[in-house]
C-alpha cells in the first residue's frame, strides 16, 4: 500500500494550483465557492465565461484522450485536478454533464461525425448539455420511458414527442441527450434510442420546476415534434439502453476526493459555529460532530480504495458500489447536524422572501442527494443483487 501521489502527480498539482491562483480572480473572484449543489442557479452566465477561461488554459475535459482534445490525464491526475479545483473554491462546473457524460459516451459509442461536431464545443466551454432520462412514469424504473421517436422518411429526420422531467439546467443548455422509444410496440429496455437534440427549437418547451429551496435548477421538458437529424442518434435504433447504461458507467470516482473537500468545508463551518454558539459543549452534539468526522475520513479511505482499482482480490469493486449510498446518507445527516448546531437560529433566513444561508441551503439540498442518481433504495437493491448475489426484484 502506498498512500501518497507520485512526484509527477505532485508536480501536476502545482501546475493546476498555480493556474487557478492566477486565473480565478478579477471578474471571477465572486465565483469562488459558488454554483455547487444547492447553489446551481447562481451566476450561470459568469460560470459559463469561467468555463471558457478553463478551456483556454486546457483545463476542461482533461481525462479525455489526447486525440479528442483532452490531456489523456491519468486517474490520479484527474483526482488531483478535482482536489485542487475544490481547494481553490472553483465554482460549480456548468460543463460537467458534457465533459463527464456526453463526451465519454460519444467517444465510446458515437460516430466519427458526431465526435467532430459535438466534442469541440464541450472542450471549448461554449456548448452545454443536459440529461434527458427521467420522465413522469420513468424514475427509478428508467426503462419505462414513454417519450417516442418516429423517423419521418420524407423529412429524413427523427421527430420526438413526449415529456422529460427533473432535467437539471435544461434552461441553460444548448443540447440534451434523450432516451426515447424508437419502437412504439416495445416495452422495457428494448426498442429505445439515444438521441442528441438541440434545445433551441420550436418543438421543445422548457418549464422550470420550483424546488423546496425556492430556487429552480431542474425543469420539465416537453417535446412536440421536436427535430433530431438522422445522424444524431448514438448507436442503432433499439440500442439506446446499452448507450444509456454505458454512460452511467463513466463515473470513475475521480471527482470524489474533490467533493469531499467541499464536505470538509461544510463540516469545518459547522464546527466553527458550534464553538461560537456553545453547541460544542453539548455532549450529544459532540458525538454527532465526531461521527461526521469519522464518516468523512472513511469516505476518503473508501475513495482511495476505489481509485486504486478493484477489490483487494481484483474482482468486484464492492467499495465502488457502496459509494453513492454512503456519501448521500452521510451528507444528509450532516445537513440535519448543521441545523441542530445552529439551534433556533437555523430558522432565520439570510433575507426575505426566501434567501437561504449556506448551511440552510446545504441542509435542504441534502434531501435530494439520496434521490437523484439512483435513490438509496435502488442503491440497496443493486448492492444486494450484484455484490451479495441475492435474488432480483420481481418486476411487474
Amino acid at each position: 500500500m502506498k498512500l501518497s501521489f507520485s512526484a509527477e502527480d505532485e508536480q501536476f498539482r502545482g501546475e493546476i494550483a498555480t493556474w487557478l491562483e492566477q486565473n480565478l480572480c478579477g471578474e471571477f473572484e465572486q465565483l469562488r465557492g459558488r454554483g455547487g449543489p444547492g447553489d446551481e442557479h447562481m451566476y450561470p452566465d459568469e460560470r459559463k465565461a469561467w468555463e471558457r477561461k478553463l478551456a483556454e488554459g486546457g483545463w476542461t475535459c482533461i481525462g479525455w484522450p489526447q486525440e479528442y482534445g483532452g490531456r489523456g490525464a491519468s486517474i490520479e491526475q484527474q483526482v488531483v485536478f478535482h482536489e485542487e479545483y475544490a481547494r481553490a473554491g472553483g465554482p460549480g462546473r456548468m460543463g460537467h454533464i458534457g465533459e463527464g457524460l456526453t463526451g465519454p459516451t460519444l467517444i465510446a459509442f458515437g460516430s466519427e461525425e458526431q465526435k467532430q461536431r459535438f466534442l469541440p464545443g464541450i472542450l471549448a466551454g461554449t456548448e452545454f448539455w443536459c440529461q434527458g432520462y427521467s420522465e413522469p412514469s420513468a424514475g427509478s424504473d428508467l426503462a419505462n420511458v414513454k417519450t417516442k421517436a418516429h423517423f419521418d422518411e420524407t423529412a429524413g429526420q427523427w421527430l420526438i414527442n413526449g415529456q422529460k422531467v427533473w432535467t437539471s439546467n435544461a434552461h441553460e443548455s444548448e443540447y440534451c441527450f434523450v432516451i426515447a422509444r424508437t419502437d412504439p410496440e416495445s416495452v422495457g429496455h428494448k426498442g429505445l434510442g439515444f438521441f442528441l437534440l438541440a434545445m433551441d427549437q420550436p418543438g421543445i418547451d422548457v418549464r422550470p420546476i420550483e424546488q423546496l429551496t425556492g430556487t429552480s435548477e431542474f425543469n420539465e421538458v416537453f417535446f412536440d415534434d421536436a427535430h433530431c437529424s438522422a445522424q444524431d442518434i448514438v448507436g442503432a435504433p433499439g440500442e439506446g439502453w446499452k448507450v444509456a447504461m454505458g454512460l452511467l458507467g463513466f463515473e470513475r470516482g475521480v471527482s470524489t476526493l474533490g467533493q469531499q473537500m467541499l464536505f470538509q468545508n461544510e463540516l469545518d463551518e459547522i464546527i466553527r459555529v458550534a464553538k461560537l454558539n456553545g453547541a460544542a459543549t453539548d455532549p450529544v452534539i459532540r458525538q454527532r460532530i465526531a461521527d461526521a468526522h469519522v464518516g468523512l475520513r472513511i469516505m476518503r479511505f473508501n475513495s482511495m480504495r476505489t481509485l486504486s482499482g478493484g477489490g483487494d482480490d481484483g474482482t468486484l469493486q464492492k467499495e465502488a458500489m457502496i459509494y453513492k449510498l454512503y456519501w448521500s446518507t452521510w451528507h444528509r445527516n450532516l445537513g440535519k447536524l448543521a441545523m441542530d448546531v445552529l439551534g433556533p437560529e437555523s430558522e432565520v433566513l439570510e433575507a426575505g422572501p426566501y434567501e437561504l444561508n449556506r448551511l440552510q441551503s446545504m441542509y435542504l439540498f441534502t434531501r435530494a442527494d439520496t434521490i437523484y442518481g439512483g435513490t438509496n433504495q435502488i442503491q440497496r437493491n443493486i448492492i444486494a443483487e450484484r455484490a451479495l448475489g441475492m435474488p432480483r426484484e420481481p418486476r411487474g
Partner: protein
C-alpha cells in the same frame, strides 16, 4: 497512490484464511472456548512452529519476520473472521507492540526471541474504573532504592490468567492523569502477583484480573521513560486498537456472509427469504458497514506501520485508530445484531454460530473503548 494489498500481502492473507478455515472450525472454537485457558495449546505451538505468525512484525535482528503492520492487519482480519481462539492478540498486539515501543534494547533482546519460541505475553493497564485513557492506570508504585514496589489491581486483561510475560502499567503514588506512569515487564509467576480468570460472556476471548501486593520490580523490569511513559503507552494502545478494529472487520464480514447464506436457503411464503426487500436492504446496509470499516482499518494499518517504522503518517495514529475503532465497533455490532434477526429463531440458539459473533462484537466493542468513547476523544481534538 495504491491503496491495495501487494501480491505478498495478498498471499499472507490467503494463507491465513486457508489455514484458519481448516483449524478454526466452529467445533474447534467451541471446544477451545469451553476451557479456562481458552485455546488449544497444541494449535498455538503449531502456529508458532509452522506458521511463524507470532514473529510477523518482530524485526529480523531479533529473529522475527520483519514484516509490517499492514501484513499483521491482513492476518488479524482473518482471525476475527474465524474467531480464532489463541493468545495471538494478547501476545503480538499487546506484548510485542509494548516491547517494540517501550522495551529497552536489553528487554527486546531477552523477550522477543522468547516470544518467537512460543512464549505468551499480555499488557495490563486498566483498573476497574472502566476507562481506557491515562486515568485507567490505578495501580501504584513507590520507589525503594533501585527497585519499585507495586500495589493494586488490573482488570479486563486479555489472557491475563495464562500469559507468561506481563507488561504492566502503574503510576507513582500520588500522581494523576498522564504523569507519573511507568511500564514494567515481568514474568507472570513472579512473587507478589496473583491472577484470576474472569469468566466472560464472550468465551472466545479470555479476560483476567491481576492483583499485586508489594510486588517488587527489579531495575531490569523497568521499561523506557520511567515516570513518563504515558506517551509510549498511548502509542501501544493506539496500535492495539487498530488491531482490534482489524479483527472486527473480519467478524463483521463473516456475520454478513453467514447471514446472507442462511437467507439464501431459508424458504418462507414459497420463496427464499433473501428475495424479500426488507432482508436485501438490511444485508446491503451490513455490506456498507463492513466495507467502510475495512477502508478505515487498512488506512489505520498504514498509519500504525509508520508509527513503528517512522514516517509522516505516525502523527495520525490517535485519530486513525479512533476513526477505525469507532466505526468497526459499531459496524460489527450492527452486523451481528442484524445477523441474529435475519436468522429468526435459530439465531437465538447456542448451536448457530451467529451468536458467537454477536458476543465477540460486544466484547471487542467494549475493549479499548466503545464507539462513543472514541468519538468523545475525537470531539475533544476537534472542539476543545
Amino acid at each position: 497512490m495504491d491503496f491495495t494489498f501487494t501480491e505478498e500481502q495478498l498471499m499472507i492473507r490467503d494463507t491465513a484464511e486457508a489455514f484458519l478455515a481448516e483449524v478454526s472450525t466452529s467445533a474447534a472454537v467451541r471446544a477451545a472456548m469451553a476451557t479456562e485457558l481458552g485455546y488449544d495449546a497444541e494449535l498455538w505451538q503449531k502456529i508458532c512452529d509452522e506458521m511463524f505468525w507470532q514473529a510477523i512484525h518482530i524485526p529480523e535482528e531479533y529473529g522475527g519476520m520483519g514484516l509490517g503492520y499492514v501484513e499483521l492487519v491482513a492476518m488479524l482480519e482473518q482471525m476475527g473472521r474465524y474467531l480464532l481462539c489463541s493468545p495471538f492478540y494478547s501476545t503480538v498486539c499487546l506484548g510485542v507492540n509494548s516491547l517494540l515501543i517501550a522495551g529497552t534494547p536489553e528487554q527486546k533482546a531477552e523477550y522477543l526471541p522468547r516470544i518467537i519460541e512460543g512464549a505468551t505475553a499480555t499488557l495490563a493497564y486498566t483498573g476497574s474504573n472502566g476507562r481506557w485513557d491515562a486515568e485507567a492506570v490505578t495501580a501504584t508504585y513507590v520507589r525503594s532504592g533501585d527497585e519499585y514496589v507495586l500495589n493494586g489491581s488490573w482488570r479486563y486483561v486479555p489472557d491475563g490468567h495464562s500469559a507468561q510475560l506481563l507488561v504492566v502499567a502503574a503510576r507513582e503514588e500520588g500522581s494523576s492523569g498522564t504523569s507519573g506512569i511507568t511500564l514494567f515487564i515481568v514474568p507472570a509467576d513472579s512473587q507478589g502477583i496473583t491472577r484470576e480468570w474472569l469468566p466472560t460472556m464472550d468465551q472466545t476471548r479470555k479476560q483476567a484480573q491481576i492483583v499485586m501486593a508489594d510486588a517488587v520490580m527489579a531495575p531490569e523490569s523497568v521499561m523506557n521513560e520511567p515516570g513518563n511513559a504515558w506517551q509510549l503507552l498511548e502509542r501501544i494502545i493506539g496500535l492495539a486498537t487498530v488491531a482490534v478494529a482489524a479483527e472486527q472487520v473480519g467478524g463483521a464480514q463473516q456475520a454478513l456472509d453467514i447471514t446472507v447464506a442462511y437467507t439464501q436457503e431459508r424458504v418462507q411464503f414459497g420463496r427464499v427469504i433473501a428475495g424479500y426487500q426488507a432482508i436485501k436492504h438490511k444485508a446491503a446496509d451490513m455490506m456498507v458497514k463492513v466495507e467502510a470499516g475495512r477502508s478505515a482499518a487498512y488506512y489505520a494499518a498504514c498509519v500504525a506501520d509508520e508509527t513503528l517504522r517512522g514516517g509522516s503518517l505516525a502523527s495520525e495514529l490517535g485519530d486513525a485508530a479512533s476513526v477505525a475503532k469507532a466505526w468497526c465497533s459499531d459496524a460489527f455490532f450492527f452486523n451481528a445484531g442484524c445477523g441474529i434477526q435475519l436468522h429468526g429463531g435459530v439465531g437465538f440458539t447456542w448451536e448457530y454460530d451467529i451468536q458467537l459473533y454477536f458476543k465477540r462484537a460486544k466484547s471487542s466493542e467494549t475493549f479499548l473503548g466503545t464507539g462513543a468513547w472514541h468519538r468523545d476523544s475525537i470531539a475533544a481534538s476537534l472542539l476543545d
